[in-house]
Amino acid sequence: MPDKKFSVDDATRLVAVGEKAEADARRAVRWFRVFVVMQAVYALAFTVSIDVAGVDYWKAFAPFLLVTLCIWMIALQHRQSAPRHGLRNMGIAVATWFALYTLMLDPALQLFSASSPWWWVLAGMVSVTPILACVFASSRR
């Protein structure tokens, strides 16, 4: 290798450039985790508000739908920095959550006449796990 001039300042500068690139990249993709957690939190809040707090279904559904649409619109605007298959998996996870809770867990709890509200909280938490799984890179491999 030809012995070109490469000073300590050049090395320092290059290290700083690398650190900046790494930090910028991490910051740019951080939104996806926030998006996933927000979606999971709102999904859980929706199910708890209906089955534990006794809120009317459509009165609970309207704000949930509004928030979901807003965060998805923001996610779609930033889709270039989303992980590969991240948004697709999130869509599948939300559909799975809805089906799991509405078609399986909620009817099952009613069938067994579960009286404690904690059963519905537990069911809500179990049903949002597909959404939370999207935080992990292994869910996309």
Binding site: V8, A11, T12, V17, A21, A25, A28, S81
Partner: protein, 115 residues
């Protein structure tokens, strides 16, 4: 012991390629467009850098058809991650060597003045 500059990896020494690997280091598959915007380089520059790095198996490039468009995904390989970390350690060793040298030069001369 030889100077650390002799361990510099010329393949990833270029600022663009070095920044590219630094950005990919802790991420999963990354979109080509996102990378170009992040690194503030043109598509052709990024494409050239990716070609060089993928030929050396430091990154993997995957094209995916999305409707009528093609999306390009980039991921750092295990070899690439190790090469980057090795190169980063070399640069840090150079900085450290330079810092020690300058500390040695700044050390005050405590030899007694002649009578």
């Amino acid at each position: 012991m030889s100077h650390p500059r002799k361990d510099i990896d010329t393949l990833i020494h270029s600022p663009v390629r070095f920044s590219l690997l630094a950005a990919l280091r802790n991420l999963e598959d990354v979109d080509f467009r996102f990378l170009a915007d992040l690194l503030e380089v043109s598509d052709s520059t990024l494409s050239q850098a990716l070609t060089v790095l993928s030929e050396a198996d430091l990154v993997s490039v995957r094209k995916e058809a999305v409707g009528r468009r093609t999306r390009t995904w980039v991921r750092i390989t295990k070899v690439g991650r190790e090469a980057f970390e090795q190169h980063l350690a070399t640069l840090q060793a150079i900085v450290e060597a330079g810092t020690q040298t300058s500390r040695g030069e700044e050390k005050p001369d405590d030899t007694p003045a002649p009578a």
